[in-house]
């Protein structure tokens, strides 16, 4: 599964995209797994109220299932327009 980071999440974690082989069942499980990896992930995901997620390029909730998913993206609230 590809995991993408945008804006300050990308900067804090230090990369825009990585391939992760995970058995996480939901987005929340994936976040827990990432938090346990390294301090920079723990810092990026410290406050989930400031983080939004897209699953296969559609906005999703943290309890969204990951089975069969190819791409998960994490980013702050959007500021377009």
């Amino acid at each position: 599964m590809d995991v993408l980071y945008f804006a300050w999440l990308r900067e804090r974690i230090g990369l825009p995209k990585e391939r992760i082989d995970s058995r996480a069942a939901t987005v929340s499980d994936l976040v827990e797994e990432l938090r346990g990896r390294e301090e920079r992930y723990a810092a990026a995901f410290a406050d989930l109220s400031a983080v939004r997620v897209a699953v296969d390029r559609e906005l999703a909730d943290f309890d969204a299932p990951l089975e069969g998913v190819r791409e998960v993206a994490f980013f702050p609230p959007m500021t377009g327009g």
């Binding site: 897209a54 390029r57 559609e58 500021t79 327009g81």
Partner: protein, 145 residues
């Protein structure tokens, strides 16, 4: 319906002109242009987006507008990359038989585009950079629809 996501500048006047042309069935055309404000010594506004998701998200917002109001056409153009104060970031345009639909749909597009399309703005100033925080008011604006 036309959705454009590009780094290059767009020609707002030419887009407005083309969008409003040959609309004998549409009494009302509304356009909106977003401009980079040079508040507080802003040097540049950098816009990041999510290639692959952005155009789909914008198209979904525009399609939703077309199901809600009687619209003849919708145009959305949004830039990314580094923009200087005064540059036009984006535009939307709506054509409808009646003005209320054209106005309301354009405001709907803007409200959703602000908070539901994957763009992020970063301000560059002499003393550093800062990501623009999402405003509660923008999120609250969605509750009216």
């Amino acid at each position: 319906m036309r959705i454009v996501v590009q780094e290059a500048a767009f020609d707002f006047g030419a887009e407005c002109d083309a969008f409003a042309a040959d609309r004998a069935d549409m009494g009302a055309v509304v356009t909106f242009a977003g401009v980079v404000r040079g508040d507080g010594g802003l040097d540049a506004m950098e816009i990041e987006h999510y290639p692959g998701m952005t155009e789909a998200a914008l198209a979904a917002i525009a399609e939703e507008a077309r199901t809600r109001w009687s619209l003849g056409d919708v145009l959305v153009i949004h830039r990314y990359g580094r923009l200087a104060p005064g540059e036009r970031i984006m535009m939307v345009a709506t054509a409808a038989p009646h003005r209320a639909d054209a106005f309301t749909a354009a405001e709907y597009l803007m409200d959703y585009l602000k908070s539901r399309a994957p763009f992020w703005k970063k301000e560059h100033r002499a003393d550093g950079t800062a990501w623009v925080a999402a405003r509660d008011a923008d999120e609250d604006a969605l509750s009216r629809w």
